[in-house]
Amino acid sequence: MENLLKVKELKTSFQTLRGEVTAVDGVSFEVKKGEILGIVGESGCGKSVTSQSIMRLYNEKELVKYEGEVLLEGNNLLKLSEKEMRSVRGNDIAMIFQDALSSLNPVFTIGNQIVEAIRLHEKISKKEAKKRAVELLRLTGIPIPEKRVDAYPHELSGGMRQRAMIALALSCQPKLLIADEPTTALDVTIQAQIMDLIVELNQKMGMGIMLITHDLGVVAHTCQRVIVMYLGQIVEEGMVDEIFKNPSHPYTKGLIKSVPTTNTDVSRKLYTIKGVVPLLSEAGEGCRFCNRCEMATEKCRTSKPHLYSMKNEGHRVRCFLYEKGGDCHEAK
């Protein structure tokens, strides 16, 4: 399949009171046309920063510095002027945020906000745009869209709001949709509905989707490929089946083991990865995971591992265990 988005050695650093902090450190991956790519990791691992760097949402005048390349159909977004970038945002790439209540402007109606998004990129009348907004709301499964279009965000339920947010994102039929934890703030039953909607829209409209989540269950159900991130770096990458069947990085293994499933023996304690995600500024010389890793050696503490290719195509792991490539030697 053709590449839609190709990110090469992306590095995003912020200027803070405590000095410069690199939140995303040399991340490379691609999203193919029509594919759903999952990006997983604990909070603070750089998932959201990666997605917002792709759209260049941070204030570039003062606090952020981007390095590397973000190629959308071969066009480097990091080189575009602010004006050119504006015509990309919302038009070619759109974004769904975590909490629809705080992400929708409270003082404008849903319809108003969708109409604005449409008219920013297309020259059509307000009336036509509003008709489109109603259609979009219908498409995302909002009942009585003719009425809801004039509602304020706070007048809708959580699930409806997230649907409206999705309608807003789809308003210009983007080529790439970035969904940043789209279901975290919702009830479990509604979560499933929203995820189904996203998959359905992906099949209907054929756009590429970057799904950012910390929920491995969601990834297993919806994505074709997955990237596991830890402290601003990719630690493992591969097809979903491959990763779930044969997780290789100790961190991925831990993540998968710590998901509760119905066939787990209840008497056994749920697995946890020891420790917490350290601060970015505390990343040491060696592998960033070594302090929490059960298999860490002296080498892990002193030198940095690269991404090593595994036997199956597209499966890559950042761990010295696989330095020689090929099959992994299980520790236990």
Partner: protein, 318 residues
Amino acid sequence: MKKYFFKRLFYTIVTLLIVSVILFVLTHCTGADPAKLVLGIQATPEAVEDLREKMGLNDSLIVQYFRWLGDILHGDLGTSYMKNKTVTELLGESFMPTFNIAIYAEIISMCIGIPLGVLAAKYKGKSASVAISSVALLGMSIPGFLLALFMMMAFCVKLQWFPVAGYTPAMEGFLEHIRSMTLPAIALGFPQAALITRTTNNAMLEVMNTEYIKTAKAKGASEGAILFKHALRNALIPIITVCLQSFAVFFGGAVIIEQIFNIPGIGTLVFSSISSRDYYVIQGAVLVIALIYVVANILMDILYGIVDPRIRITGKSK
């Protein structure tokens, strides 16, 4: 909504009643005898006693208070001891000058404050923003009466652009009216302009950090649209608050500025009445100013509801 409105009205009336009690107690517990003041030092004790009886000063304070309150409810604020006019007449004469200065000062402070506040938020961290906040800090630090003195020294005496003092009503020539109001309005409005700038800036900076601004940016909205459409609209509540409060502040600050520019407004009236212990005038004038403050607050509530749809709902549910 109706219930909320009546509740609000009830509290307003209670507040005004408490104000009236405070005023009454303050003015009547000073020990000075208005009858003596009216008659002068040479008055005989008999004459003073006679006048006291006539003025009702020999009744108990509670009786006096309720008599005064009853008169107010009939629209009678009492009669001045010194000026042989009713308080309503005096207030009517002096209301317009003060109201004019306050309106002009409000226009000046809003026209300067809001745009500068937005600009300072736009250029956050840059020299333009530092310059604006420094000027705002300076504006907040210059007392209005000093600004008035400095401006008089520069514009009235050296350059002779404006009259040194006095008031020309709008009816007697609009240009002269504006000329006589310019400096007082600036002296009154500039410190508030600084306050509005800072409030606008803070409110904007807070709003600019919200998620929906990120959404607007992700839609591809331009910086101007983000600032003026999405952010300013959401930052309006604190801005409305500070603007309407400043209107009440202008009525209070007028006491000083009117003295300097010799304007026959409410401030001058109160000031002269305080020194002559003209109880009814002080009470009436301060009550009117308190009423303006209360009305400004109610207006503020109504505007909140117009600006923010979420408040409309809570208003209803209350």
